[in-house]
Amino acid sequence: MRIRSSRECASLLLIAACIAATFALAYAAHGEGGEPRYFAITNARIIPVSGPAISNGTIVIAKGLIQAVGANVPIPPEAWVIDGKGLTVYPGLTDAGTDLGLPKPEDSAGAVHARKSAVPSEIASGPEDRPGATPWRVAADELKIDDKRLATWRNAGFTSALTLPDGGVFPGQGSLINLAGERAGDFVVKPAAGLSISFKPIGGFFSFPGSPMGTIAYVRQVFIDANWFAQAQPAYDANFTKFERLPYDRTERVVNKSLRSNEIVLLPANTSVQILRALRLADEWRISAVLLGGQQAYAVTDVLALKKTPVLVSLKWPERPKDADPEAEETLRDLRLRDLAPSTPVALTKAGVKFAFYSDGLAAPKDIFKNLRKALDAGLTTDAALRAFTLDAAEILGVSDRLGSLEPGKIANVIVTDGDIFNEKTKVKHAFVDGRWFEVHEEPPPDKTDEKKPERHADFPEADAAVGR
């Protein structure tokens, strides 16, 4: 029995009939009110990632968690059963670096410095002015759940993402979110999932920091200040009659808290020079660094392995700039980088360096998979790719106890496909986020006469209504 597209159900009556027909076993559960929270996918090929594949098994989802996975597990009576014959069940994928759900930088508080204006909005004369520092911004606090990409990504098999604030040198903290919910708070799995740092100069020639060495010096001073604060605060509190009052500095307080809690620090690094530099700085600053980019990581896998530093690999491979002068001759160095960048994932696998993938601003999930194809062509196995998109991403982001594989007790972020996940022809049929079911619809053919109604086939398909949301 398959779940039928609920768009076929034209009226409430029909919807009820539809549900009755498709979820015969669930009728009792429905009687409790609300949407179903118990599911069983039977007769399916199951890829738990954490263990061997199960060729014909059942996975039970109960109240947001995975309850059981196996060849022969009992199905709770209240579960809605999906016949998984011919289907494959995977953990939902994670996009380990994106701005899904976040307003454009122009709208956000800390983005003033990110603008490419010739006139800096304020003149900073040194680290003490804290230019471009908003480490207290947490992506979770700024989520706009009307971002249509949330559903687009989910429909493509992504059930969670590390979404990162942008703008400035300390733009804020990335949050790990699940890609569904009714309110912004529903999305958030881990609000402070990574302290973001940018080495891009923001000041131009006339304001600090106006150079990469300036941003490095700045970040260094902030880490020093944060560590100083950790030392100074207790000393002051214990003896405040002896010391001058400590000034309030939000940046050093927040960064201190982030460092104390061992939050990962995301350092952008693409070329081998940038990667080695970031590793040196991470050692110096004694931070749990995770590199963001990794285009040329293939050239320095030995050091990455030695340092045990994970990499979030951008799936936006380097390419000739679109606005490049057609007359300009290419350098061999650039050509080599463009040729070899997609071999980074397989090189990292061979070296035993943990990595995950991120979409890095790619416009649509299909671009993610198209670009992943290049990494697979370069020798990355689909198993390793799947691991990078699931369990390894969860481990790097510190949530592997909750996400990343199909194991009892984990959050039920589950996708069901009609074939191998990275096969171009494969379609995602169902997606479960926090154990809530989303049927994935193909969108109808483009309607050229009706461009004003793009909402029609948008995010929450009528399927949601069908299951009582």
Binding site: A114, D166, F208, M213, A217, A235, T271, T331, D339, A363
Partner: protein
């Protein structure tokens, strides 16, 4: 740097060499060469034995031990590796942290770019060591580093081991922003006059003294076991200035006019630090005696001037005149291009000022080595020094001289023959990669044009975030 606003350099047909991964032979003998030792004359038909990267023997009767690699340099000339006392190569991003009047918190060593093609190009001009300086946008600029041009090595392997770090100071038009200004609507930065430049330096060192006192006081009390001490906050801007006061960091001061040079000499004396080199120092010839008395060096150009008002009163005799009055003089490049013919720049002082050939050669070898405090390891061909050597086909002080090989630590980092021989294969590789890209693009296009049943491409999702870009070395 002479021109304050960095000029982007675009490379055409840049065939980046594969990193030199040549196995270092432990023992090398360069034989049959005219060896210009700089410290003890010229040796005709001389040989240099290199062992483990150091010069092991120099003379006419040095024999190759078993297993030694022999470089026959018959008819060729060997000089110590050229040392460029003022360079801005191998830097990722902006050479200036231009905003603050005191940018001593930034450090060139943080942004060394070992992939900058200028390293290789300068090697081809015989340069083996360079003093990599911050720009001149601030009275007190960023921290600087001396590197060896070890092309193909990592950034961490470039710094000249044991060389004291430096800091850039700048006087005159650049730090007071005379020849350019911020965009309309942005307030002009202090200082705007030479008086202000002096005041900024005084102020910074006054703060540095106070900062040093705080730390000395804290460390003293801590040593007595006093409880509940609050350490002073570390200040990356003042730390290097304290190092200057303690003699642990060299000051390289960009300057032009005689009056400002004397000003800095007075300020340095008052605060008790030494200026290690006056850079550019185009009016040095006017006050050579005063410079000589302060015991600092001058690092100048042969004949480059008039690019701004303060650089007009210059003469090609500057190097020779300062040298005659007892100033330790070097000739520097301040330019990736000029660095490729520093031998000729040095030779000009033979015409303008009648320097001897050896003294001219010293301007780009031993003298800058002394200025950078590395003369125990570089600057001349002496037993025990690093085997940083350049082999020319002609007398290096002639215009016909072309570098044949450049060695650093006894390793060949530039080899003209090898370079020429590698070009066809590099060009072939390049064409193959271009072809491969073209083919892939065509296939992708074909694939995309297939009628697709999927319609999920209808809606264009919001514009993606700013893309990360690969910095691929070079233009700054």
């Amino acid at each position: 740097m002479r021109h304050l606003v960095p000029i982007a350099i675009f490379f055409t047909a840049l065939l980046a060499q594969a990193p030199t991964q040549a196995q270092t032979p432990n023992v090398i003998l360069i034989r049959n060469a005219t060896v210009l030792t700089v410290t003890h004359g010229t040796i005709e038909h001389g040989s240099i034995l290199i062992r483990d990267g150091k010069i092991a023997a120099v003379g006419t009767d040095v024999k190759a031990p078993d297993g030694a690699t022999v470089i026959d340099a018959a008819g060729q000339f060997v000089i110590p590796g050229i040392i460029d006392c003022h360079s801005h190569i191998a830097i990722d991003g902006n050479v200036n942290e231009g905003g603050p009047a005191v940018s001593s918190m930034v450090n060139i060593a943080d942004v060394l770019n070992p992939a900058d093609i200028n390293i290789y190009r300068d090697l081809a001009g015989g340069v083996t060591t360079a003093n990599i300086l911050h720009g001149s946008a601030n009275p007190i600029g960023g921290q600087t580093v001396v590197i060896k041009l070890r092309w193909g090595k990592q950034a961490s392997q470039l710094p000249f081991e044991g060389a004291l770090p430096g800091i850039k100071f700048a006087l005159g038009e650049n730090p007071k922003h005379s020849n350019f200004g911020p965009p309309a609507g942005t307030p002009a930065r202090y200082p705007a006059t030479r008086l202000g430049v002096e005041e900024v330096i005084r102020q910074a060192f006054t703060e540095a003294r106070e900062y040093k006192k705080q730390w000395d006081d804290y460390n003293r009390r801590k040593a007595t076991g006093e409880p509940n001490l609050l350490p002073p906050r570390r200040d990356l801007r003042l730390e290097p200035l304290v190092e200057v006061l303690e003699g642990k960091r060299f000051v390289h001061a960009h300057c032009y006019r005689a009056d400002e040079i004397l000003m800095l000499a007075r300020v340095a004396k008052e605060f008790g630090f030494k200026v290690r080199t006056f850079q550019h120092v185009l009016e040095g010839y006017k006050i050579a005696d005063e410079i000589a008395v302060t015991g600092v060096g001058g690092s100048t150009f042969s004949d480059w001037w008039a690019y701004k008002m303060e650089a007009y009163d210059a003469i090609p005799y500057n190097a020779a005149l300062m040298h005659e009055r007892g100033v330790l003089v070097s000739i520097n490049s301040d330019s990736a291009e000029e660095a490729r013919h520093l031998n000729q720049e040095a030779a000009k002082s033979m015409k303008y000022g009648d320097l001897s050939a050896n003294d001219a050669l010293k301007l780009i070898t031993l003298n800058p080595a002394i200025q950078l405090g590395i003369d125990n390891r570089a600057g001349s061909i002496d037993v025990g020094k690093d085997a940083d050597l350049v082999i020319y086909n002609h007398d290096p002080l002639s215009v016909y001289a072309v570098v044949q090989k450049t060695l650093i630590d006894g390793q060949v980092y530039f080899d003209r023959e090898r370079d020429l021989a590698s070009r066809p294969s590099l060009e072939k590789e390049k064409q193959a990669l271009l072809e491969k890209e073209k083919k892939a693009a065509a296939e992708e296009k074909k694939h995309d044009e297939k009628p697709e049943k999927k319609q999920d491409q209808k809606k264009k999702p919001p514009k993606p975030a700013e893309s990360s870009q690969v910095v691929s070395g070079g233009g700054r």
